[in-house]
């Protein structure tokens, strides 16, 4: 990072928000977030200008602005609380934007899938915040690497899961295929400068934490490299242009994640920025073709530049930035995977380029859409300057590697364009059936558990309560029928016995004196007998 550029953000004071007493939190613009903020702002302007010509309403703009604001909070947050706030609001806004045409149940379903998948991964960040309190006694991002031993690993695990989910890396990639259900301007923003890159950003930001654990850096590197390779194959297999672009986003972000794992933070950042320009450009061009059912020369040229840049053809931007990333990779196995992924990216970009050879009707495209396309095309072509030493290029790519990668890219694109077809691996067409696996492995069992518990709740838990109530009534009935009868019978028996005794007692009462006298004589005799015997 050059000293001259440092001055630019040195004047931006950290903003103190302090959401929770005792746990300071704030926003800060530093040498990483400044690049992301500028990228976000530029892409947002381009996308909104484009969308203006398509006549979207208030709801669209409100959601898009909230979406962008959430991303801005995410990249400037200096602690886990604010980060998570931006992070989650961004997810919710992506839900609302993907399901923008809400009357279509399939699009709503896509929105559900996208939100739930990313939120499942976000649980890692919630847990990581707790582990951070336990291990580092702080929520500040800068303090996480200093946490005590078991907690540091737990924090890293939570962060890595959340980041891989947000960035649609394996095994979470499938949600990005679903995200295509949104309008093209949404895809253009979501795939470039917001949402999906947030995960890569977080890993780049938390590089010291990944380093401190050791294993996390390796895991992240491999996750990124494998996603770049395998999702590259998925992109190659797609017949639908937007699906191809979606898979290519996963693959390209794989390079950024690889950069974070390998420690090539500057290269990863440069790749993120250049990719944002290229990918938003490609999605907006695809949007023109989809909505206007025709094409325009500016659109064709812009798309061509974008696709060639995506292929990594020198001297365009992604060639430079990808090499910066690969130059930072130490392990040769990772490097080999990264190199293969790089060749694949040239192949799928070539396949996208073939689209230009299809006959299409010429249609007018408004100036408000042509200008952003032209601007993004210029940026997508020229952002390789980011890789120059002094801006984001400190590592400096190895010359022969760059030359080799460039040559391979040119060769691959040339062959694809010449042959006009590419191998389409059928096993990759459905994104490795990841969504089906998630449905079968998580969603259906989850619903089965829910239904089973609901039945358990009705029959056993509530049944026990009802049983107690019934038991009470039954006891009452029993008491009335049996115990009451017995008690009552006993009372009756006592009464009868008393009556019998009374009748007995009445019989001597005859009123005849001689009988009384005889009774008295008998009693006296008995008394005398008792006295004699006792005496």
């Amino acid at each position: 990072m050059s000293a001259a550029l440092r001055g630019v953000w040195g004047v931006v004071p950290p903003q103190k928000a302090g959401m929770i007493p005792g746990w300071g939190s704030g926003l800060v613009v530093d040498e990483l977030s400044v690049f992301l903020l500028v990228t976000l702002a530029v892409v947002l302007v381009a996308v909104l200008a484009y969308a203006w010509a398509d006549g979207y309403g208030v709801r669209f703009h409100a959601l898009m602005l909230l979406f962008a604001a959430a991303m801005a909070v995410t990249v400037t947050a200096s602690d886990l609380l604010l980060l998570l706030m931006g992070w989650e609001v961004m997810g919710a806004m992506s839900y609302a934007l993907i399901g923008y045409v809400w009357s279509d149940p399939e699009r709503v379903r896509s929105a559900d899938v996208a939100f739930l998948t990313t939120r499942a991964a976000d649980m890692g960040l919630y847990a990581a915040a707790g582990f951070a309190v336990a291990g580092a006694h702080s929520l500040k991002l800068d303090d996480l690497a200093t946490a005590n031993a078991p907690w540091r690993d737990l924090i890293a695990a939570g962060v890595v899961v959340a980041a891989l989910g947000k960035s649609a890396q394996l095994p979470f990639s499938f949600w990005l295929s679903r995200a295509m259900a949104g309008p093209s301007p949404v895809s253009a923003l979501l795939h470039s400068a917001a949402m999906v890159v947030a995960g890569a950003y977080l890993l780049l930001r938390l590089r010291p934490l990944l380093d401190a654990t050791g294993w996390a850096a390796t895991t992240v590197s491999w996750a990124g490299a494998l996603t770049a390779l395998l999702l590259g194959a998925v992109a190659l297999a797609q017949r639908d242009l937007k699906q191809l672009l979606a898979a290519s986003t996963c693959a390209q972000i794989g390079f950024m994640v690889l950069a974070a794992g390998a420690g090539a933070v500057d290269g990863g950042t440069a790749h993120l920025i250049a990719h944002a320009a290229v990918k938003s450009l490609l999605f907006l061009c695809a949007g023109v073709w989809l909505t206007r059912r025709g094409t325009h020369r500016v659109v064709d040229v812009a798309f061509g530049i974008g696709a060639v840049a995506l292929a990594g053809v020198p001297p365009l931007s992604l060639w430079v930035t990808k090499d910066e990333v690969l130059a930072g990779v130490g392990s040769s196995a990772l490097l080999a995977v990264g190199f293969a992924a790089s060749v694949l990216s040239a192949a799928y970009a070539g396949k996208a380029l073939l689209r230009l050879f299809q006959a299409a009707e010429r249609v007018p495209v408004p100036l408000a859409q042509r200008i952003p396309l032209a601007g993004l095309a210029v940026a997508g072509a020229g952002l390789g300057v980011l890789g120059l030493p002094g801006i984001l290029g400190e590592a400096g790519p190895v010359a022969w590697e760059s030359a080799l990668a460039g040559a391979f890219a040119v060769l691959t694109v040339g062959v694809v364009v010449a042959v006009r077809r590419v191998p389409e691996p059928a096993w990759a067409l459905r994104w490795f059936w990841l969504e089906r696996a998630a449905l079968a492995g998580v969603v259906r069992p989850g619903f089965a558990v829910a239904r089973a518990l609901a039945r358990f709740d009705d029959r056993v838990v509530d049944g026990a309560v009802e049983g107690v109530a019934r038991g009470g009534r039954w006891t009452a009935g029993l008491a009335r029928r049996r115990v009451e009868l017995r008690v009552d019978g006993l009372v009756g028996a006592v009464g009868r016995a008393a009556r019998g005794l009374a009748a007995l007692a009445r019989r001597p009462q005859t009123g005849q004196v001689h009988l009384y006298f005889a009774q008295a004589a008998v009693v006296l005799a008995v008394l005398v007998l008792v006295a004699v015997l006792a005496g």
Binding site: L116, M123, F131
Partner: protein
């Protein structure tokens, strides 16, 4: 002043028979707004300091040393404010009611006095009286203004929670007998906790107090009175029942169980953690399987109240980090307020749906957003607030609960806290399911009947969600008041 705040609604209720019928709803609304203003004034006067304000201690039943002892602090003020807000909301929402308006208003004013009194009580016997009266009041609300199987639900509610209150009374008597000298005064009991030398008796007393409050909260497995009571209660009744009356259980845990039985609380903290965790997950999963939207919201209450119990359990781990435990207690109190606002709003929205279509069955709606866009927007905001979206109150509460519980740093708290995080995913899934089936997609069988919210309904719902937004964006307003109280509770439990 506090006594005035507590008994003003009751006084107006007694005067209500003399008010002309057409003025009844407006009188009710007027006194509710005055109450709100008075509580706000008390909050402003109390500020963010510690200690108790507006204390009154009068002789009541001197033979058992029970007094009319009331006061407010950082725990009672947010709940008093919540009570005032929700009752005012119900008054607005019911402006168009026509069924036995006078009796309805009287009953709600009576309930308002009862709820305010409970959250201000500093005497166990006084607390118990209000606790019991709340059950009686709500019984009549469900019985007289409910729908469908209301008599059965009301009876079940009454018997179950009344049983709970009897167990609670046993616990209170235990506390009375365990104290030296015998007293029901909470402040004195807090100063010298009863059963200093007999952990067995303290444990039994905690069992009684805890079980009594657990039924009210409710936690699994004592929750089955809640779904039928909510389903058959009128919308305003559900809002008060879930929004205010469920808090009596968790409020009692913080106010009575933790400071009065600190040793026992620490010893059985693991029980609280596990009960909280089970409530969180069980409530969320059972809610996911519901097709009746009001039952669904009722089960999410079990889930949300479970977070509170979990956090309070974590606060009992004296070996853990003190700051983290404070965070957990603050989160728990925030969750009480947040759940009151959001679930109150959700139940009122259920009421709108039932008012229009006469059904709670989510399978029979769909695409409601077309004909009722404002209603759809409110449902979406309330649903996202309930599933813990940042920027709304639920997130602030749940974040603090998770961070505090896990951050306490013992193995038990870290594991249970991390497992409880899964609750937010299930809650998200179930609310997206509701949005998908009711609000979005293609119109269903009953959709044509659903018209948009009317003005009183809107006026009731917007403040609730706006307050949730305020707490979500600027939580310091609330947290600074709670914080001294959390510090005090954590210190009391830790001694």
């Amino acid at each position: 002043m506090l006594t005035l705040v507590i008994f003003l609604p009751l006084a107006v209720a007694l005067a209500l028979p003399g008010v002309p019928r057409r003025a009844v709803p407006w009188t009710w609304l007027g006194v509710s707004v005055v109450e709100l203003a008075l509580v706000a004034a008390m909050w402003a006067a109390h500020g963010t300091g510690g200690g108790t304000s507006f204390e009154t201690d009068a002789r009541w039943i001197p033979s058992v040393r029970a007094g009319y002892h009331v006061g407010v602090d950082g725990l009672s003020l947010p709940l008093l404010a919540l009570t005032a807000v929700l009752f005012a909301t119900c008054a607005v929402y019911s402006l168009r009611n026509t069924h036995r308006v006078r009796a309805f208003a009287m009953l709600f004013l009576f309930l308002e006095t009862v709820c305010l009194g409970l959250f201000a009580a500093l005497d166990l016997l006084l607390f118990f009286v209000f606790f019991d009266l709340s059950i009686v009041g709500m019984y009549f609300v469900i019985l007289l203004w409910g729908h469908e199987d209301r008599a059965r639900s009301a009876l079940k509610f009454f018997l179950y929670t009344f049983l709970g209150s009897l167990v609670l009374l046993l616990g209170f008597i235990g506390l009375y007998l365990g104290a030296d000298p015998h007293t029901f005064d909470m402040v004195e009991l807090t100063r010298t906790p009863p059963f200093a030398g007999s952990p067995g008796l303290a444990g039994l007393t905690l069992l009684a107090v805890g079980a009594g409050l657990a039924i009210k909260t409710p936690v699994v497995p004592f929750h089955t009175w809640l779904p039928p009571a909510h389903t058959d209660a009128p919308a305003a009744g559900s809002a008060v029942l879930a929004g205010v009356m469920l808090k009596m259980g968790t409020y009692g845990l913080v106010r009575i169980a933790m400071p009065l039985l600190p040793d026992a609380w620490r010893r059985y903290a693991l029980v609280m953690l596990v009960v909280g965790l089970v409530s969180v997950l069980y409530g969320a999963f059972v809610a996911l399987a519901q097709d009746n939207v009001k039952r669904l919201v009722a089960y999410t209450s079990v889930n949300h109240m479970g977070y509170i119990v979990l956090a309070l359990g974590a606060a009992g781990y004296a070996a853990g980090d003190t700051d983290a435990r404070r965070l957990a207690v603050t989160g728990a109190v925030t969750q009480m307020v947040s759940h009151g606002l959001v679930t109150g709003a959700l139940f009122l929205l259920c009421g709108v749906l039932h008012d229009r279509a006469g059904s709670y069955d989510i399978g029979r709606f769909g695409g409601v957003a077309r004909r009722a866009p404002v209603f759809a927007g409110l449902v979406a905001v309330a649903a996202f607030a309930s599933l813990g979206l940042p920027g709304l109150s639920g997130f602030i509460a749940e974040f603090q609960i998770f961070a505090g519980t896990i951050g306490t740093g013992t193995a038990a708290t870290a594991v249970t806290g991390a497992l409880a995080v899964a609750g937010i995913l299930v809650t998200a899934a179930l609310f997206l399911r509701v949005l998908h089936l009711v609000v979005l997609g293609q119109p269903g069988e009953l959709t044509p009947r659903v018209t948009d919210v009317r003005r009183p309904e809107l006026a009731a719902l917007v403040p609730l969600l706006a307050l949730s937004l305020l707490i979500g964006v600027a939580p310091r307003v609330l947290l600074d008041t709670i914080e001294p109280l959390s510090a005090a509770v954590v210190a009391l439990v830790g001694r």
